[in-house]
């Protein structure tokens, strides 16, 4: 069963009366519970595609089907973590994380009670009542992701969540994300620039061409799960990486 289908989506922006194509016609079908990554050069329309799926941006053409229902232009149907952590600086971490519940009308005290164990379980213990500016980048990303998770939609979109982190924190966060993914059984769409990251995390990888974006290839990752650091050194991992590197190199050269 396809959880999410992207049908003939494209997006053209108008800039000073000039048409500017950010995303060429794109089709994707994503099965329930899969971890799917999207990689592609900067500016190829990955965030644009996510904005369309999240209903924050109307596409120029096409439909987005969630469980077979068209959700184009409807926001709030999927969880979406934008490229920045976007924590509200005047709220504590706990109060940031419960934002989605609050909007749904859950009372603040109850929302806090529900969120607190999650913060403690997923590495933010002791920081519940701190303000975002007091946290490290990795912790802020974790808080933002927990906020998205607590919003509790089947599909979550993650736009380069670890892009701004150093290599070591990144590795740690990847394992953390995999744990969460297996705990919560969500369907994940994940944008990254990092090939290792894409292979390590995903079941499928979509490779986008340079601007204007278009799907260039779809790669299945059949590495066994659960994955750990050893996965990174396996021969099949290296093989996949080589293939993807070549594809992306071609893209870089064209652009």
């Amino acid at each position: 069963m396809n959880k999410l289908e992207i049908v003939h989506n494209s997006k053209t922006f108008k800039k000073n009366d000039k048409e500017f194509c950010a995303l060429q016609e794109t089709n994707m079908s994503i099965q329930s519970g899969k971890f799917v990554s999207i990689i592609g050069p900067s500016g190829c329309g990955k965030s644009t595609l996510f904005n369309i799926i999240a209903g924050l941006l109307p596409p120029s053409t096409g439909e987005v089907l969630l469980d077979g229902k068209n959700i184009v232009g409807k926001s709030g149907c999927v969880g979406y973590m934008l490229q920045k952590d976007l924590l509200l600086p005047w709220r504590t971490i706990l109060d940031n994380v419960i934002l989605g519940l609050e909007i749904r009308g859950v009372h603040k005290t109850e929302a806090r009670e529900r969120a607190l164990p999650m913060l403690q379980k997923y590495g933010l213990k002791g920081f519940e009542h701190h303000f975002p500016a007091e946290l490290s980048g990795g912790m802020r990303q974790r808080a933002a992701l927990l906020r998205t998770l607590l919003y509790d939609k089947d599909v979550i979109l993650l736009d380069e969540p670890f892009g701004a982190l150093d290599a070591q924190t990144r590795l740690f966060m990847q394992s953390w994300l995999l744990k969460i993914w297996s705990d919560f059984k969500k369907t994940v769409l994940f944008v990254t620039h990092d090939i290792d990251e894409a292979i390590y995390l995903s079941d499928e990888i979509y490779v986008f061409s340079h601007r204007p974006g278009r799907i260039k290839a779809k790669v299945e990752v059949d590495l066994p799960r659960p994955r750990n650091e050893e996965t990174l050194t396996q021969a099949s991992f290296q093989h996949l990486k080589k293939g993807l590197l070549i594809m992306l190199k071609v893209e870089q050269e064209i652009s």
């Binding site: 999240a54 926001s75 709030g76 999927v78």
Partner: protein, 291 residues
Amino acid sequence: MDANAEKIPVERTGIDQSLEVKKNTRVKAAVIEDDRKGISMRRKVVIGQMIVGVTIIFLWEFLTRIGWLDSYYWSNPSTIVQTGWTAAIQGTLLQDMAYTSGATIIGFILGTLVGSVIGLSFWWSSLYSRITEPYMIAFNAVPKLALAPVLVIMFGIGFNSKVIMAFLMTVIVAALAAYSGVKSVDKDLEKMLFSLGAKRHHVFMKVVVPSSVPWMVSSLKINIALALAGTIVGEFISSRQGVGRMILYAGQVMDLNLVWVGVIVLSFLSIFMYLGTVWIEKWLLKNRKYQ
């Protein structure tokens, strides 16, 4: 191999910890030193300020006594205190102070609230805000003090016309400040909230209002002074009460000592109300220390 693997990190953390401790003590020592410096600095500042104040009052008194300054125009501190005391005990100085500060504070609160609401409302429609903005700026440029005679005729010589003056002085400043706040709201924050299924009123309450608070707060200090100026001018034009009226009356009967009393009293009112807004500001921003 396992044992080794475990040992190394333990040793390493041991070293790290001792380093950490050293660093901490050093930091602590530095902080204490800084504090000491801060305290002695603060003490010096306070002492210096007191010396300057006392010198000014002393010179004022001294120069008027020996006749270098004409005490008819300049009065002098001891006479001012005496006149003030008499005006408070036998006259209506205390009621006048209550009248003036009452009108100022009510006008200030109304102006700030209404202005903030107007400014924030601009978030809801860019058509409406774009149509209105030039008029706001134009109205801000109108010298509202010059309108005082009209307002006194419209609203009478009583308390209301003073409140209206203070209100008009503050409302546009507050509205423009809130509007600047609205314009500076991070569009991505709005987007993030929509992605959590928010409606516009959620975005307004959870993002627009809180992120505009520092902008609105920044106008409080200017506004309290403007409100006081509005009230005093209102009293100058026509009034039966208030410190402004007292000054005007004293000037008409050439009681310059009493004029000085009025000026000094107004300065103190102004300082106290300023301190009040500083306190409100601190209270409103108490969660913002980390921004």
